[in-house]
Amino acid sequence: MSSILPWILLLAPLCSAACITLFALRWKALSSFISIMAVLLSFICSCLVFARADISAPQFGWIDVAGALKVPFGLTQDQLSKMMLVLVSGVGAVIHIYSLGYMRDDEGKSRYFGALSLFMFAMLGIVVANNFVMLFMFWELVGFTSYVLIGHWFYRDAAAAAAKKAFITTRIGDFGFMIGILMLWMATGSIVFAEITPRMSMLTSHPTFLTVVALLIFCGAVGKSAQFPLHVWLPDAMEGPTPISALIHAATMVAAGVYMLVRVAFVIQTSQTALLVIAWIGTITAVLAALIATQQNDIKRILAYSTLSQLGYMVMAVGLASNDASMFHLFTHAFFKALLFLAAGSVIVMLHHEQNIWKMGGLSQKLPITFVTFVAGALALIGCPPFSGFFSKDAILALAYQRNVPIFAVGLFTAFLTAFYVIRLLVIVFFGKPRSEVARESRESPAVMTGPLIVLALLATLGGFAFFARRFLALPIEKEVAVFVPAVAIVALILGSGLAIVLYRNRASEPLDLQLLRHKFYFDEFYRWLIYWTQELLAGVFAFFDRWIIDAGAVSGSGRGTLGIGALLRLIQIGNLQAYLFLFGLGIVALIYFAVFH
C-alpha cells in the first residue's frame, strides 16, 4: 500500500487529463468534477505520504540503452519533495475549486480543466523526479501546459502572443539547462541525483567546469522562474485566466525553478563564483521588478511584478547558499501570492473583467471578504509581522546581512519598495471613492470563490510561525543578528507604507510619472530592437548574397531588406535552376577545400 501512494498521487491528474480530453470534452460539469476529484485524491495521498516516514516508491528502469544511457523512473521521497507535494497539491486543490466559480460560464471549461489536470501531473512530476531526464521532461511538459493555459483565451491576440512568448522565452533558458545536464552527465556518468552527489568530489579539481555547469543549470531556473534577463514573459502571462496566474505564475510553476535549484544544490554549491552570480541575479531581479511594479496600473501586472520580486528573493537565498531560507520563502509565498491572485480575481470578475486599478476604488465595503483576505495577503507580502511573509523574508535578509552586505542593502531597499507598491495598490483599489460605474455596482463573490480565499488567508497569516512551518520544512537557524535585521526591515516597511499612503490617499489619478519605470526599463523594446537588428544584419548579408551571386534579375527587388532573414533565405530557393546548381557546385568545392586544403 505504502509504495503505491506516490504513484497514485502522481498519476491521478494524468488519468483525469486523459479522461477529459478523450471522453468528457462535451460535458463541462463532468470534466470539472473529474479534475477536482483527481486533484483532491492527489492532495490526500500527498498528506498521507507526508505523514508517514516509511514510504518509498520503487524505482524501475525506464530507458536502458545497453549501459550507454540509463534513465530510471523513480520518485524522490525526501523531506523536501514531500513538503512540495503537499504544497503543490494543496494550493492546486484550492485553485481547482476556485476555478469552478471563476470559469463558470467559460466556453472552453472542459479544455481548461483538462489542461489544469495535465499541469498538476507535470508539476508533481517535477517535484518527485529523481533524475535529470525525468526532471527535464516534466519541466518541458509544465512549459507546454502553461503555454496552453496562458493561451486559453486564444482568440485574444494578446493571449496568444503571451503564450508563445512565455513558451519560447523559457525555452531559451532550457537551452542552457539541457547543455548543463549533458555536461554533468558526461562528467559523472549518471543522471540520477543520488548517484551524482557522491561523484561530485571527482570534479573538485575542475573549478571552471563546475562553474560553467552550475550556471548552465541555473539558466533553466532563470527561464522558468523568470529571473532577469528572461523575466519579460511573466507579466505578459497575466493574459491567462486569473486562477492560472495564481496557480502557475505565482505558487507553483515559477517556484519550480527555485525548487530545482534547491534540488541540485549539491552541484551549485560547489562553485563560489556561480553562487555569487546567482545571488546577484536574484537581487537584481528583486529590485528591478519592485521598481517596475511601483508604476503599473493593471492589478494583475502589479502582482506579477511582485511575484518576480519575491522570486528574486528566493534565488538570492539560493545564491547565498541557504536552501532552508529559500524554501521557507517559497512556502509562505505560495500561500500569500495565490491568495492575492485569487482575491484579485474575485475583484476582476465582480467588476466584469476590469483590471485597471484607477477604475476601481472604494471596494472595501462592496467586497468585504475579498478585502479582508486581500489585506491579509498584502501584509504577508510586505513582510508585516506577524504575517507569514515577515518570517521568511526576515530569514533571507538576515542571511544576506551575514554573508554579503551589498546584497542586504539592495534587499532592504526592495523591501521598502514592496511596501510602497503594495500599499499603493491597496489604497487605490479598496479605499477612496469608486472611480467607475462597475466599481459602484460590484458585490461580493459566490462562496465557491470566497471559501478558498478564506482558507488561503488563514494559511498566509499563520504559515510563517515556527510551530506550523516546522512541520513541513527545516527552518533556517536564526543567528544573533536577529534583533537588528527585523528592526531595520520594519522601519523600511513603515517608511514605504507611509509614503504610499501619503501619496495616494484620495487620489483619482497617478501623481508620479516615471516613464522609465512605467515602460519596464524598456526591456521589451530593447529585445524587440535586438531581434530586429539581428534580423536586419543577417538580412543584409543574405540580400548581398542574393543580389550578387544568384541571378540578379530573377528575384524581384520589392520588399528586400524589410523581410526577415527567413524570407531572404527563401529567395535563394526561388531562383532558377542555374543558381541551384551553382550553389550545389559551390558546396562541393567548399567541402573539398575544407577536407583537403584546410
Binding site: 550507454a68 508563445k164 523581410l563 583537403v596
Partner: protein, 511 residues
C-alpha cells in the same frame, strides 16, 4: 554459391519485386477492362475514369500492402548472419531490422496513395513504389560500394518517376525535373568518388577497404574520393547545401512520394551512410573538435550538419506552406542526425538511426494528415489547415503530436531522440570537442519551436477560412487512413515513453 541459396537470402527482395510485377499486371489489365465496360460502372456523380481508377487503386493497394506484409514475414525468417559475394548482400540483425522498418514505412506510403485523387495509374505508381522499396532494402543490406551505387540508382530512378508522377500538376513535373537533375549530378560525383576509392584500394567491399586504408597514409586524393562519395548521400538526406531540391520535391510531388522520400529514402540513406563511414572509412575518422580538427570524414559531416541545422531552421521560419516547411525542417533534422555519425561509434550510429527512424515515422504521419487535409480542402498552405481542430479534432491532435515531437518536446519520441544524440555526441570526445555542434543543434531546435508553434496556432487558433468551411467536399470518411495516422501518432508517443523498445534493439543489433 548456388542460385537457390541466393534466392533464399534475397527472398524478401524477391517477394517485393514479384509483388511489384503483380501489381503492375493488375494495373494494366484492369485499366483495359475499365475502358471496355465504362457504361456498366458509370453511376452517380463520379465520372467513369474516376470510379474505375479508384477500384484499381483499391485492388492494387491491397495487393501491394499484402505483398509487403508477406515480405516482412520473410524478413523475420532470415538467418541471423550471412554474407554473399563478399559483402554485396549482408544479413545481420541490423539489416533485417531496417529492411522491416523500410517496408513498414513503404506500407504506410501505400496506404497514403488511397487518398490521392489525381493518381491516374495506381498500378504503375505502386509498382514503382515497391521497386523503390527494393532499392531501400538493397541499400540497407549491402556492404559493397558497387552494390550500394546500384541500390542508390534504383532508388533514385524510382523516386524521380514518383515525384513527377502527377501529370496534371505542373509543379510535380518541375519538382521531378529538379530532383532528377540534382540526383544525377550528385550520382556522378558519388560514382567518381567511389572510383577514386576503388583506385586507391583496389577493392569495393567496405570491410576490405577499411583494412586497406588502415595501412596507407592519408592522402589528399583519398580525401577527395571520400568527400565525393559522401555528396550523393548528402543529397539523399537533403543536407545543406545539397538540399535545394527538397522544398520543390516535398511540395510538388504527390503526397505518398513526398512521404516516401522523407521517410524510407532518408532512413536507408542514413543506414548506408553510417556503414560507409563507420565500416569502410573507419581509419579516416578524423576529428571534428572545434580547436583540433583533424582531416577525415567527421569534420566534413560536422560542417554539413551545422550548415543544415542553421539553413533549415532559418528558412523554415519564413514558410507559409506546410509541405515546404516540412522540407526545410527535414534539412535541419538531417543535420541533427548527422551529429550521431560525427560522434562516430556504435552508440553514435545507433543514436542516429534511432533519430532518423522516429523522424521518418513522424513525417509519414504528418504527410498522412496533409494528405487528408488536402483531400478535403484541395491545398496544403497554412490557410488550408486553419481551424482544423473544429473540422477534425482527431487529425488536429495527431498533427500536434507530430509537430511537438519534431520540436523535441518531451515525452514524445523526438525529445528522447535528440537527447540521445546530443548525449552521445558529447561523450564521444573526452575534451567536449563536439560541444560546439551540440550547441548549434540546441540553438536550432530552439528556433524550430517557433515555426512548429505557428503550425499549431494555425490548427487550433485560426478561424477556418470561409471557402473551406462551406466546401461540400469535406465529409469523406477515410477510415483506414485516419486509423493509420492515429497508429503513427501512438507510435511516436510510445517511442517517447518507452524509447528502450527501439533504442536497445538498435544497439544490440549493431555489429
Amino acid at each position: 554459391m548456388s542460385y537457390l541459396e541466393l534466392l533464399k537470402l534475397a527472398s524478401t527482395e524477391a517477394v517485393v519485386v514479384v509483388t511489384a510485377l503483380v501489381v503492375l499486371a493488375i494495373g494494366l489489365t484492369t485499366r483495359r477492362e475499365a475502358t471496355g465496360v465504362t457504361v456498366a460502372t458509370a453511376q452517380g456523380d463520379q465520372n467513369v475514369g474516376g470510379s474505375s481508377s479508384a477500384r484499381t487503386n483499391a485492388i492494387c493497394s491491397f495487393i501491394a500492402a499484402l505483398g509487403l506484409a508477406i515480405a516482412i514475414g520473410t524478413a523475420l525468417m532470415l538467418p541471423r548472419k550471412a554474407t554473399l559475394f563478399s559483402g554485396m548482400l549482408v544479413i545481420t540483425p541490423l539489416t533485417s531490422l531496417f529492411k522491416i522498418i523500410c517496408m513498414a514505412l513503404a506500407f504506410f506510403a501505400v496506404l497514403l496513395t488511397k487518398s490521392e485523387k489525381s493518381l491516374r495509374h495506381p498500378g504503375e505508381y505502386l509498382a514503382i513504389l515497391l521497386l523503390a522499396t527494393v532499392g531501400l532494402m538493397l541499400l540497407v543490406s549491402s556492404e559493397e560500394l558497387l552494390m550500394i551505387f546500384i541500390g542508390l540508382e534504383l532508388l533514385g530512378l524510382s523516386l524521380y518517376v514518383m515525384v513527377a508522377f502527377d501529370k496534371t500538376d505542373v509543379r510535380s513535373a518541375e519538382a521531378g525535373l529538379k530532383y532528377f537533375l540534382f540526383g544525377s549530378t550528385s550520382s556522378a560525383f558519388t560514382l567518381f568518388g567511389i572510383s577514386l576509392i576503388y583506385g586507391m584500394s583496389g577493392i569495393t567491399s567496405l570491410a576490405a577497404i577499411s583494412e586497406k586504408l588502415a595501412t596507407v597514409s592519408v592522402q589528399p586524393l583519398l580525401a577527395v574520393g571520400i568527400v565525393m562519395t559522401l555528396i550523393g548521400f548528402a543529397f539523399k538526406i537533403a543536407a545543406a547545401p545539397f538540399h535545394l531540391w527538397a522544398p520543390d520535391a516535398y511540395q510538388g510531388a504527390p503526397i505518398p512520394s513526398a512521404a516516401f522520400i522523407a521517410s524510407g529514402s532518408k532512413v536507408a540513406s542514413f543506414v548506408v551512410l553510417g556503414k560507409i563511414v563507420l565500416v569502410g572509412f573507419a581509419p579516416l575518422h578524423g576529428d571534428a573538435a572545434w580547436h583540433a580538427m583533424v582531416a577525415g570524414w567527421s569534420p566534413v559531416l560536422a560542417a554539413l550538419a551545422a550548415l543544415s541545422i542553421l539553413v533549415g531552421n532559418f528558412v523554415a521560419l519564413a514558410q507559409s506552406n506546410l509541405r515546404r516547411l516540412l522540407a526545410y525542417s527535414a534539412v535541419a533534422h538531417a543535420g541533427y542526425t548527422l551529429i550521431g555519425l560525427v560522434a562516430g561509434d556504435r552508440e553514435g550510429f545507433s543514436a542516429a538511426l534511432f533519430y532518423t527512424t522516429t523522424y521518418a515515422i513522424t513525417l509519414v504521419g504528418a504527410f498522412g494528415v496533409v494528405a487528408l487535409v488536402r483531400r478535403e480542402t484541395a491545398g496544403d498552405d497554412f490557410s488550408n489547415f486553419s481551424g482544423l481542430i473544429s473540422r477534425s479534432p482527431m487529425l488536429a491532435g495527431c498533427m500536434s503530436i507530430f509537430m511537438l515531437s519534431l520540436a523535441g518536446i518531451p515525452p514524445l519520441a523526438g525529445f528522447f531522440g535528440k537527447f540521445y544524440l546530443f548525449s552521445v555526441a558529447l561523450r564521444a570526445d573526452a575534451g567536449h570537442g563536439l560541444l560546439w555542434l551540440v550547441a548549434v543543434a540546441l540553438f536550432g531546435s530552439l528556433i524550430s519551436l517557433y515555426y512548429y508553434l505557428i503550425v499549431l496556432k494555425v490548427i487550433f487558433v485560426d478561424e477556418p477560412s470561409l471557402a473551406i468551411a462551406s466546401s461540400p467536399d469535406h465529409l469523406s470518411p477515410d477510415l483506414l487512413q485516419r486509423i493509420a495516422v492515429a497508429v503513427l501518432a501512438a507510435v511516436v508517443l510510445f517511442l517517447g515513453l518507452m524509447p528502450d523498445a527501439l533504442a536497445a534493439g538498435l544497439l544490440a543489433a549493431m555489429p
